[in-house]
């Protein structure tokens, strides 16, 4: 067990999986010589050579499309999209191709592919280096969507994603890359895709979060705990397929639900989780569900004062907890 930064955990996962399985390759813009703009792939080119660590042309649709072809033909590609904000040109390859290959071939072909992308706000990245794109993909049957919040999960889930038989969209909360440190178990540490994690137990209300917001939610829970409000925090980790049981189990226990995400409100993950509660736990709910999210603006503006005005922070989350607990 050693304390590591999230970015190190990710690099280790890539390194170990490349060492373990010669079918694993990495491709994307600047992933080779430069080692990635966030240095997630640093050292891999030297170690595994240019046939397995590929600096690609500036072509997101081809990065994913090439990875799909390679996956169908026996490789386990890990495609990097430099920022999640630039994943949209690859939408067709992801949604119409990767997600449907197994289904449309009636199971004859599979697409074991990981698309990694740093996502999220809080780094003064402006409209095009701050986006949250998870709900586009969590909507699409045939895709798995994973967002780790801790270094241990980042490593273990990325390794699981690489070993998965199906396409996984692996979104990395880039604000957490260096900010969040944590213990990472030694050895071949794999965290299964699917189960959510109760990151903090509590009695009065359930707060579901993921990525960087998990940490702010935990801080807010700590803050209101001093006021006697006991918050159970669920770290989603896998957004699709959704771990309905863990969410519902917690909601049935606490009777109150809030969801925190930095994606904008309408049709963000919070919508699906609130809907789940309204369908499956309505009689257990003691108060209206709450969503603490970015408002419906097109990602975060650049100027610090503007970004701070829209991005959920600990105070806003804690305030919502207090209001929900009192309701």
């Amino acid at each position: 067990m050693a304390v590591k930064r999230m970015i190190e955990a990710i690099r280790e996962a890539l390194d170990e999986e490349m060492a373990r399985d010669s079918r694993v390759i990495v491709l994307g813009e600047d992933v080779g010589v430069k080692g990635g703009v966030f240095v997630a792939t640093r050292g891999l080119l030297e170690k595994y050579g240019p046939d397995r660590v590929i600096d690609t042309p500036l072509s997101e649709s081809a990065i994913v499309g090439v990875a799909i072809g390679a996956a169908m033909n026996g490789l386990r590609p890990v495609a990097e999209i430099q920022f999640a904000d630039f994943i949209h040109p690859a939408m067709d390859q992801i949604v119409n191709e990767a997600a449907r290959i197994r289904y449309r071939s009636n199971g004859a072909w599979g697409c074991p592919l990981v698309v990694r992308a740093p996502y999220g706000a809080g780094i003064r990245g402006g409209l095009y280096h701050s986006q949250s794109v998870e709900s586009f993909f969590a909507h699409v049957p045939g895709l798995k969507v994973v967002i780790p919040a801790t270094p241990a999960d980042a490593k273990g889930l990325l390794k699981a994603a690489i070993r998965d038989e199906d396409p996984v969209i692996f979104l990395e909360p880039k604000r957490a890359y260096r900010l969040i440190q944590g213990e990472v178990p030694d050895g071949d540490w794999v965290v299964p895709i699917g189960p959510a994690r109760v990151a903090r137990e509590g009695r009065h209300l359930t707060a579901v979060a993921y990525g960087m917001m998990l940490h702010l939610t935990l801080q807010a829970a700590e803050q209101v705990a001093r006021e006697g409000i006991s918050v159970e925090v669920v770290d989603l980790r896998t957004l699709a397929p959704l771990d309905r049981e863990t969410i519902l189990g917690s909601v049935r226990k606490t009777g109150r639900l809030m969801i925190v995400h930095e994606d904008n409100r309408t049709l963000g993950m919070g919508a699906e989780i609130a809907a789940l509660a309204a369908e499956e736990a309505l009689y257990d709910l003691d108060a209206p569900v709450r969503r603490v999210t970015m408002p419906d603006v097109p990602a975060t503006p650049f100027a610090a004062v503007l970004e701070d005005a829209v991005l959920p922070d600990v105070d806003r989350i804690a305030r919502a907890m207090r209001e929900l607990a009192r309701e």
Binding site: I25, D51, R52, I54, T56, P57, S59, S61, A62, V64, G65, V66, A67, I68, G69, A70, A71, M72, N73, G74, L75, P77, P89, D92, Q93, N96, E97, R100, I101, R102, Y103, R104, S105, N106, G107, A108, W109, G110, P141, G142, K144, R163, D164, E165, D166, V190
Partner: protein, 344 residues
């Protein structure tokens, strides 16, 4: 019917024929005839209301058979498009399999009735599953070739599409990627002059799709797509270059579609019957038959026998597919994800 005859002198007068070899020439012809007969039957069963939709290859048989013959079936990776039924036949998909596909039967090896007809997929022939969105298979081809090369296989990847597809971003990104990495891919464009109703001049400002190759630093060749021998030779050259590590080639086969785009299309809205008629004068099937006969490789007797055999094959395939059971609705939720967990 396997006998190969004809005078050496007559063949020598057509050096292309000589180079290709009589056995292959006859195989090409037989496949084209079979494809046309199956194709016509597909339109019939569609008009009879037995199937809702067809999309076929008429007019493009020579381009497809010529290309297929340049490949090693089951060894080379193939990414066809919806117009490639002749290509599939030539690679080894059976008429029965094609008809099962048209009837969307459970036994359809392409998708078990999940996809529209002519969306091919066949692991035993390394035919990767394709979709309807035009051009998406082009980056896949680059990726498949990358995988083959990484494993040290000497297989090439063959990728087929229409001239309309060359306007897509995926064409550009995929071909560029393959060119930069010098991947063993053959990009094969069947230029039938229309993308549904849109004529080539509204699709591109160049005379020939082959001109697009210059943007990628790869060879671009344009051949007569009504001549299977010319196509075979051009694709063979591209395949040899790819196998030898020389990177991708863009091969354009100039051809024409004789039927509407699909059974939902009315082609009289955008091209004149006389244009179609004109084009039919270069129907690759009679052209080839005549050439074979002139070379002494074919005669009326053989033609009659072939027509009978083909008719029987088409009847049998159609009858089989028609009575074959539809997919089981209970299976509809399967294969969204892999059924067994990963080996870990």
């Amino acid at each position: 019917m396997a006998t190969v005859k004809g005078s050496a002198a007559a063949r020598a007068a057509d050096p292309a024929l000589e180079a290709v070899g009589s056995a292959r020439l006859l195989a090409m012809y037989r496949i084209m005839v079979l494809s046309r007969a199956l194709d016509e039957r597909m339109w019939i069963v569609q008009r009879q209301g037995k199937v809702p939709f067809v999309i076929t290859a008429q007019g493009q048989e020579a381009a497809q058979v010529g290309a297929a013959m340049a490949l090693r079936p089951g060894h080379d990776v193939v990414l066809p498009y919806y117009r490639d039924m002749t290509l599939m036949l030539a690679l080894g998909m059976t008429p029965k399999e094609l008809m099962l596909n048209v009837f969307s039967r459970a036994e359809d090896p392409n998708s078990g009735g999940r996809q529209m007809p002519a969306h091919f997929s066949l692991p035993r022939l390394r035919v990767l599953t394709g979709s309807s969105p035009v051009g998406t298979q082009i980056p896949h081809a680059a990726g498949a070739a990358l995988a083959s090369r990484l494993r040290g296989e000497d297989s090439v990847t063959f990728c087929s599409f229409g001239e309309g597809a060359t306007s897509t971003g995926d064409f550009h990104e995929g071909v560029n990627f393959a060119a930069v990495l010098r991947l063993p891919v053959i990009f094969f464009c069947q230029n039938n002059r229309y993308a549904i109703s849109v004529p080539q001049r509204r699709q591109m400002a160049v005379e020939s799709v082959a001109a697009r190759a210059a943007a990628y630093g790869i060879p671009g060749v344009s051949v007569d797509g009504q001549d299977p021998v010319a196509v075979f030779q051009a694709v063979t050259e591209a395949v040899e270059r790819a196998r030898a590590g020389g990177g991708p080639t863009l091969v354009e086969a100039l051809t024409y579609r004789y039927v509407p785009h699909t059974s939902d299309d009315d082609d009289r809205l955008y091209r004149s019957p006389s244009e179609v008629e004109q084009s039919r004068r270069r129907d690759p099937i009679p052209l080839m038959r005549q050439r074979l006969m002139e070379a002494g490789l074919w005669d009326d007797e053989q033609e009659r026998a072939l027509q009978e055999e083909v008719a029987r094959t088409v009847d049998e395939a159609t009858a089989y597919a028609e009575q074959a059971p539809p997919p089981d609705p209970a299976t509809v939720m399967r294969h969204v994800f892999a059924e067994r967990p990963a080996a870990g």
